[in-house]
């Protein structure tokens, strides 16, 4: 550290960032996280009792699904340089409204579309405040995080609603046949495929990366930045509301404090998967791997009797490492490049005229 304080930054702080948060040259961060996930799964199968049975795996996936679901639009949002901290509250609000309407005797076929619509509205509120007023999404969504949760509390009070129709509850917690795959994993996989396609193989995805890396340059290239961001906030709100419905069914309980703190898990997973918090970099595959890595890690730690408290420490440490490591790597690479440049003899100057 004393060494670093002496050195002034090599390039202007606001200047160009060198490309590639790559680990030691060749391995990409998201690939590394994916590999780590596979290694963890293989090791757990071999060495952890009760890990490999179908029931435990379905627990693992079922518990990770809400996070994995919201991670899909959240990745797109972070790639575009924004963030939504209100996703957990939106999910909670959607669950609370679902419970309240069910208590009022509405049919569940009507309630679920209404909840999704509510998610659209929540997303619009966030998106309009960010794009129309130009407010930082962080501040806006901290506000809506409290506001949505507060409304959920007003709607449902401290009641909890559990008597949803059995076939819906079965979907929320059931498995396909006797396999380890939860019923809800199938629609998730379809959504994930769509999201991968949109983010990595459509003009919308290309534009999102451009907007996140340089909003101004994207605007000068004719990309409709505000509309794009607004639609991503709406997508996030909608998926969060869907997640709220799933949450209530999966745990067979609609309460106002459902999914509290979910936003932190989502963000931790997405960032761990190599999506750059500053926008413009990352892959959805990495984000999904990050989410399931965290989920698997928690599952394994529970099985080997690591306390929930220690698990929090691990999550936090992974989060810090996931943002710190690429930057440290970049600085090391820059320092090396600088040394190399210094060792090279300066090229011949053009002759004076």
């Amino acid at each position: 550290m004393p060494d670093t304080t002496v050195k002034p930054p090599a390039a202007p702080a606001t200047g160009s960032r060198r490309p590639g948060p790559r680990l030691s040259g060749a391995i990409r961060w998201d690939t590394a996280v994916g590999t780590l996930l596979v290694v963890l799964l293989i090791c757990s199968f071999s060495f952890v009792d009760n890990f490999g049975n179908a029931l435990n795996i379905s627990f693992l996936i079922g518990n990770a699904l809400p996070v994995a679901l919201i991670a899909l639009p959240m990745t797109a949002l972070v790639v575009a340089g924004e963030i939504d901290l209100s996703v957990g509250s939106t999910a909670g609000l959607s669950g609370a409204v679902m419970g309240a309407l069910w208590n009022d005797g509405l049919a569940i076929q009507v309630i679920i579309p209404l909840c999704v619509l509510l998610g659209v509205v929540c997303g619009l509120i966030n998106g309009l405040l960010v794009t129309r007023l130009g407010l930082p999404s962080l501040a806006v969504t901290i506000g809506t995080m409290a506001a949505f949760r507060g409304v959920a509390q007003i709607v449902l009070g401290s009641n909890s609603v559990t008597d949803f129709p059995q076939q819906y509850l079965d979907f929320g917690s059931g498995r396909i046949g006797g396999t380890f795959i939860p019923d809800a994993a199938v629609p998730w996989a379809v959504l994930a495929l769509v999201a991968v396609l949109v983010l990595h193989a459509t003009p919308v995805g290309r534009s999102l990366f451009a907007v996140g890396a340089s909003q101004q340059a994207a605007r000068f290239a004719g990309i409709r930045v505000k509309r794009l961001k607004l639609s991503m906030f709406v997508a996030t709100g909608t998926v969060s509301a869907l997640t709220g419905v799933f949450w209530a069914l999966h745990y067979a309980s609609a309460r106002y404090d459902n999914a509290t703190g979910l936003e932190l898990s989502v963000i931790a997973g997405v960032l761990l998967g190599g999506v750059d918090f500053d926008g413009g970099k990352g892959t959805l595959g990495g984000a999904i791997a990050g989410v399931f890595l965290l989920g698997a890690l928690q599952n394994v730690m529970s099985l080997v009797n690591v306390s929930a408290q220690s698990q929090i420490v691990v999550t936090g440490a992974l989060l810090v490492i996931s943002v710190l490591a690429p930057r440290v790597g970049r600085q090391v690479a820059q320092a090396r490049a600088r040394r190399n440049a210094a060792e090279d003899p300066p090229p011949a100057a053009p002759p004076p005229s």
Binding site: T202, A213, R219, P346, A349, P352
Partner: protein, 506 residues
């Protein structure tokens, strides 16, 4: 080489300094000696390495090789504070102010006068700022916040800041670019007084007449290398230009004759409150129209409004006779408009993205089918244009930030030429690029015009405007001050209109 004061070592000097950024060799073995009581000009084209040299003197960059000498002793500046403590004051091209602080605080950040117990003496800060402004003869209030100051006023605050610590070395990077005639005269008065009191001055300006009016010595850089360091006496402007450019002017400005066709872009009474007012002009197919004026006169702002990046408050824009809705770049593109913006790094390119992605940013319609990107189409579109414009790159997947300034500018041009525009607006197309690429860009613009493209060229490089443009528009403080034919346009007539001395402003 004779020294101005051979008996004393230079106050500040560079010996054999080199500095590279990635692939770009910004400085190659450059030496420079600044003596007390001498005003020294640094000449060179955009991209010759002047800014890097200044930042090395200011302690922002550390040289890869070579040394900085202070009073003949090698020193190492670990940061801007070290350079400042050594008595080096730098006024940058781009003012670097704190918008939330008052003007007085801006001047004294980090070194406010203090009273007992180390408390900042706010009254003394205000008083000192007021004294500085009086000395500079400007009407700024010390308590005014820096937010909302015009560029010229911001520049004056920067100058006051440099004056405030009685610098031994005063470095000024184009301080006059945004100033009017009377402000320049006042600034020169202050600089001369400082020089007579024994300060060394390093002065950079694109206006050669200012170099001759103020300086005793001139050092010329080209493509990062030292070309000459000599007394100003006995030099002519032509000598200096030849040293800076290093080749014949005909070769640098290859202007072809083009057939001028119908009106392509028509701007009528365009107004954006507080920025520009009542701007009307036409650009015809095959025509290159130069848009000249001081920095801050509103030229880039007009271009941004025409293209739709900024909204306009009044007036109208037509492309090929069809009106353009305000504030919609995507519709402007659809109408055949293209804008190569002023700030290449912030506006022209997504620096962290690959060459391929940057070129294709304007062409999603042609590289996707049924809403899904076609990798082959993307790649071939990018390769096609990168090769056509002779971009020098290793791999198309490399980030554009690894390219040199000239090649970056070619990527921006490729991105826009790939849309097959009918009207091309280029804002400072050759700022910060080497002489060879500059000639290439000029040849390209000329060729485009010959092919019938209407070109509106905004440039602060007066020789460029005069050599390339069929017609020259001049802006002064947000208004169109003159519309000159190629024959009428001279350095004098353009500068007169740009500084408000022209009569046509009414």
């Amino acid at each position: 080489m004779t020294q101005a004061a051979p008996e004393t070592p230079p106050v500040l000097a560079l010996e054999g300094v080199s500095k590279s950024f990635g692939a770009v060799h910004a400085l190659r073995g450059v030496s420079l000696r600044l003596h007390a009581g001498e005003a020294h000009a640094l000449a060179g084209e955009n991209g010759a390495g002047k800014s890097t040299l200044i930042k090395t003197l200011a302690g922002v960059h550390r040289p890869d090789t070579g040394v900085v000498l202070l009073d003949g002793e090698p020193v190492e500046f670990h940061g801007p504070a070290d350079a400042r403590d050594a008595g080096v004051a730098v006024i940058y091209q781009e003012p670097t102010l704190f918008p939330d602080l008052s003007v007085a605080e801006n001047i004294f950040v980090g070194r406010q006068p203090r009273r007992s117990f180390g408390r900042v003496d706010h009254r003394a800060v205000r008083q000192a700022a007021a004294d500085l402004f009086r000395r500079l003869g400007v009407a700024l209030e010390p308590d005014q916040p820096a937010r909302g100051l015009s560029i010229a006023d911001q520049q004056l605050v920067e100058i006051a800041k440099a004056l405030s610590f009685d610098a031994r070395v005063l470095v000024m990077d184009e301080p006059t670019a945004a100033l009017t005639g009377s402000e320049v005269a006042r600034l020169f008065g202050v600089v001369r007084a400082l020089r007579e009191q024994g300060a060394a001055v390093l002065f950079i300006s694109h206006r050669l007449d200012e170099v001759f009016a103020l300086c005793q010595r001139v050092t010329t850089l080209r493509d990062g290398a030292l070309i000459a360091s000599e007394p100003v006496d006995g030099l002519t402007e032509d000598d200096l230009v030849r040293r800076m450019v290093g080749r014949d002017l005909d070769e640098l400005y290859p202007k072809q004759d083009a057939k001028i066709g119908g009106v392509a872009l028509s701007v009528r009474r365009l107004t954006r409150e507080g920025v520009f007012t009542d701007v009307s002009f036409d650009v015809r197919h095959g025509e290159i129209v130069g848009l000249a004026g001081l920095v801050g006169a509103g030229r880039s702002e007009v271009a941004r409004a025409v293209f739709g990046v900024d909204r306009w408050d009044g007036g109208e824009v037509e492309v090929d006779g069809r009106p353009l809705p305000p504030g919609a770049p995507s519709l402007a593109m659809a109408a055949g408009l293209a804008l190569v913006p002023e700030d290449r790094r912030a506006e022209g390119l997504v620096m962290d993205m690959s060459i391929e992605r940057n070129i294709n940013l304007t062409g999603f319609a042609s590289t996707s089918r049924a809403g899904v990107m076609r990798r082959g189409a993307e790649r071939s579109r990018a390769v096609d244009w990168a090769v056509r414009l002779q971009v020098k790159y290793a791999r198309l997947a490399d980030a554009v930030s690894t390219l040199s300034g000239g090649n970056q500018q070619k990527v921006v041009l490729a991105k826009w030429l790939a849309t097959d525009p009918g009207v091309l607006i280029v804002d400072e197309p050759t700022r910060g690029i080497d002489v060879g690429t500059k000639a290439e860009v000029h040849r390209l613009l000329s060729q485009l015009a010959a092919d019938g493209v209407a070109v509106l060229m905004i440039s602060s490089d007066l020789p460029e405007v005069l050599a390339m443009a069929d017609r020259v528009l001049v802006m002064h403080e947000g208004r169109l001050a003159a519309d000159l034919t190629r024959a009428e346009a001279t350095e004098e007539s353009v500068m007169a209109a740009a500084t408000g001395r022209g009569r046509s402003a009414a």
